[in-house]
């Protein structure tokens, strides 16, 4: 199948795809509407709209049923699956894909690829297996840090875009690399918060702020988000979405943790949209009325003086 940027990404097989994919099937543990999803503020990726800004990974869970319950509790509408874990010969017989809730957009990833060429090979397998041209590009030659190789990631993005894929690249938190990936035609950039699986939070915060400031495509903070407050922080500083896996999968109660991340992501997004007040030092008092307000009472004062009182901005 072909994939273009104007086309909505396919969803998992049980329900037809639609632009706003917020519906879970009857019988699932939670019903839509029990989370304050920001319906009037959709996330737009490659022409498709999503009300949830939390993406979930499917690795490291104790079992597929628990993973499924966590996915549902997270309200995630995009779920990434490692193609190296998918076994087409076992489809319907306990493969991970059988447990992704219906209506969720599948985002196959190239985890395990060490080079751009291996990523292309895997992506093509995924396109054949999952029927989607959507792919999360991961090129991680170092099995210890699983740090993305910036050179091979850029080269892989160019190869995959040329092959018709809609590419969401996991990348180093580097503002220039992010721009280069965007120029290469990627649908998002996905900079890491800290090493994948480390649960160490936004160690790359300054770089992510710079990426957000320059990006023309959605910025999805991927990797390292360890607790819900990390997700909220990423959203507050302007990330468009977050992707979480280990923090949910290895929590003592993954379902509750998934729900906590859903709430934190919404809270962070709302906090970003609301516009925060300027941060002050601990001993700085904030005057509640303009310091120069007295000027208005002085003789000869012009009508423009009132604009001095903007401190609440």
């Amino acid at each position: 199948m072909t994939s273009g940027n104007a086309q909505a990404p396919p969803t998992s097989t049980s329900t037809p795809s639609s632009d706003l994919v917020a519906v879970h099937s009857p019988g699932d543990e939670l019903v839509p509407g029990d989370l304050p999803l920001t319906d009037d503020d959709p996330l737009r990726i490659a022409g498709a709209l999503f009300t949830s800004r939390l993406l979930l990974g499917t690795g490291k869970f104790a079992d597929h049923r628990l993973m499924r319950a966590a996915l549902i509790a997270s309200r995630a509408q995009i779920v990434t699956v490692a193609l190296r874990r998918v076994d087409l010969s076992r489809a319907g017989d306990g493969d991970v894909l059988d447990f992704v809730p219906p209506g969720v957009t599948l985002l196959p990833n190239t985890s395990g690829a060490a080079t751009a060429d291996e990523a292309l090979r895997l992506a093509r397998l995924g396109r054949a297996a999952c029927g989607t041209g959507l792919v999360k590009l991961e090129v991680t030659p170092d099995p210890r840090t699983l740090a993305p190789d910036p050179i091979e990631t850029l080269r892989g993005a160019e190869l995959l875009v040329a092959d018709g894929f809609t590419v969401l690249p996991y990348c180093s938190a580097d503002p220039i690399l992010a721009r280069r990936l965007e120029e290469a035609g990627c649908a998002t950039v996905m900079p890491l918060g800290s090493w994948i699986g480390s649960n160490r939070g936004l160690r790359t915060r300054d770089a992510i702020e710079a990426i957000v400031a320059a990006a023309g495509v959605p910025v999805v903070v991927d990797a390292g988000i360890g607790v819900p407050s990390d997700a909220a922080e990423a959203m507050e500083i302007g990330a468009d979405a977050v992707l979480v896996n280990t923090a949910v999968a290895v929590a003592a109660d993954p379902v509750t943790m998934a729900r906590a991340f859903a709430l934190a992501t919404v809270a962070g997004r709302l906090g970003h949209l609301a516009g925060r007040g300027r941060s002050r030092g601990a001993t700085d008092a904030a005057p509640s009325s303009p310091l120069t307000g007295f000027l208005a009472g002085l003789s000869g004062a012009g009508t423009t003086v009132g604009t001095a009182g903007r401190s609440a901005g």
């Binding site: 690795g59 490291k60 869970f61 079992d63 190296r84 998918v86 076994d87 291996e118 210890r144 699986g197």
Partner: protein
């Protein structure tokens, strides 16, 4: 003619592993506190000689009373790095023909046992049974017979199995020519060679004759394999061969660490098989009891957080079930150690007798019951079929 010492052989000389092991015997409780505190961080920063000294401390008898704490720290590191997932693989013995005489091995040259080398077609038949059982990760095992299990034979077998198994590794004789590269081109992912013991003099005592007698050829084989593009390296020491088994654990840890640093694209896994009864009749010179064994694997996990730890069916079920929750990340299941043992059991000599005789499905069920996902497939084909 012996091979020249490789890169790790030179490092091993500098590390003085027997000295570290001997010093650790005198370990005080306070030293255990310090070593555990440093290694329990689990960030892999405690490497090099200082990290090895800490590992020696945690291996020492004095740390035995702290086993529960060491295990808890190891469990936390394993969960964080590997998640609730255990990789499953199956050994496929392709041949028990052997030109090496190793005192402890049931395949040793000269032993009067029934020999068999599977044809490539018979290997495919064996593999089909393993595929039916769910396996997608295969380990092809043989004795050391460079004529019966030749490079051409292995290239053909790997090529024929490739379309059905995304992860194929070999545990055969070592190679000094371009064989590793040819096998990688055919789709090989991993190479397993156990050094058995890192003690040179003990090594030469038990490896009586044949290619395997060359300590340095064997020790440097991973360097050649990694240079040739092999993605996964499996190391091991056979506990019970050398009296100072802790020194072998230390050397194994140093070897894994050396390879992971130098060949940064490769994944490294280790195994600590304990010597089992075999047709050789060779008695272990030291008994590593279960508690000491668990202590060793947990301490290894803390020293090398990213290194896979493999546990085979030679260990009993209860021990395997317990160790999955502490340090082990890869297991075999339902194994036969006899060439042809899955299609035509009982027709050739097995290498050793297994202890955990549960079926792959039973192992998978055990993992799920313990809160772990059995991972049958965690790889993708590296070459086109």
């Amino acid at each position: 003619m012996s091979a020249p010492p490789g890169l790790f052989a030179q490092e091993l000389e500098r590390l003085d592993v027997p000295g570290l092991s001997a010093a650790a015997v005198e370990t005080s409780p306070a030293a255990v506190d310090g070593a555990l505190a440093r290694l329990a961080v689990g960030d892999g920063a405690a490497r090099g000689p200082a990290g090895l000294a800490d590992l020696a401390t945690l291996l020492a008898p004095a740390a035995g009373s702290r086993l529960e704490e060491i295990a808890a720290a190891a469990r936390a590191v394993t969960l964080r790095r590997f998640g609730r997932a255990v990789r499953l693989f199956a050994p496929l013995y392709v041949s028990n023909a052997c030109l090496s005489s190793c005192a402890y091995c049931g395949f040793a040259k000269g032993l009067d046992v029934v020999r068999r080398t599977l044809t490539p077609a018979e290997v495919v038949d064996e593999a089909a049974i393993l595929a039916d059982r769910g396996f997608r990760h295969l380990l092809l095992v043989s004795g050391e017979h460079r004529l019966e299990v030749s490079p051409d034979y292995l290239v053909e077998v790997v090529g024929r199995l490739g379309p059905h198994f995304p992860a194929i590794a070999i545990e055969t004789q070592t190679f000094s020519d371009d064989t590793y590269g040819r096998l990688v081109a055919a789709g090989l992912e991993g190479v397993v060679h156990y050094q058995e013991t890192y003690d040179r003099s003990r090594y030469s005592e038990v490896h009586v004759a044949g290619w395997k007698r060359d300590f340095d050829r064997r020790l440097s084989s991973f360097e050649r394999a990694a240079e040739a593009g092999v993605r996964r390296l499996g190391l091991g020491a056979l506990l019970g061969l050398a009296t100072d088994w802790r020194a072998d654990v230390l050397a194994l840890a140093a070897h894994a660490d050396f390879l992971a640093r130098r060949y940064w694209r490769t994944e490294v896994a280790v195994a600590l098989p304990r010597l089992k009864p075999s047709a050789s009749g060779f008695p272990p010179v030291v008994d590593v009891d279960d508690a000491a064994f668990v202590q060793a694997l947990a301490a290894l996990r803390l020293f090398a957080p990213d290194v896979g730890i493999v546990l085979s069916t030679r260990e009993p079920a209860a021990l395997r079930d317990g160790l999955v929750q502490i340090a082990v990340t890869t297991m075999s299941a339902g194994s036969s150690t006899e060439p042809g043992g899955y299609t035509t059991p009982g027709q050739a000599q097995e290498q050793f007798s297994i202890s955990d005789e549960r079926s792959p499905d039973q192992i998978a069920a055990m993992l799920r019951a313990n809160g772990y996902e059995p991972v049958w497939k965690d790889a993708f084909p590296l070459v086109d079929a």
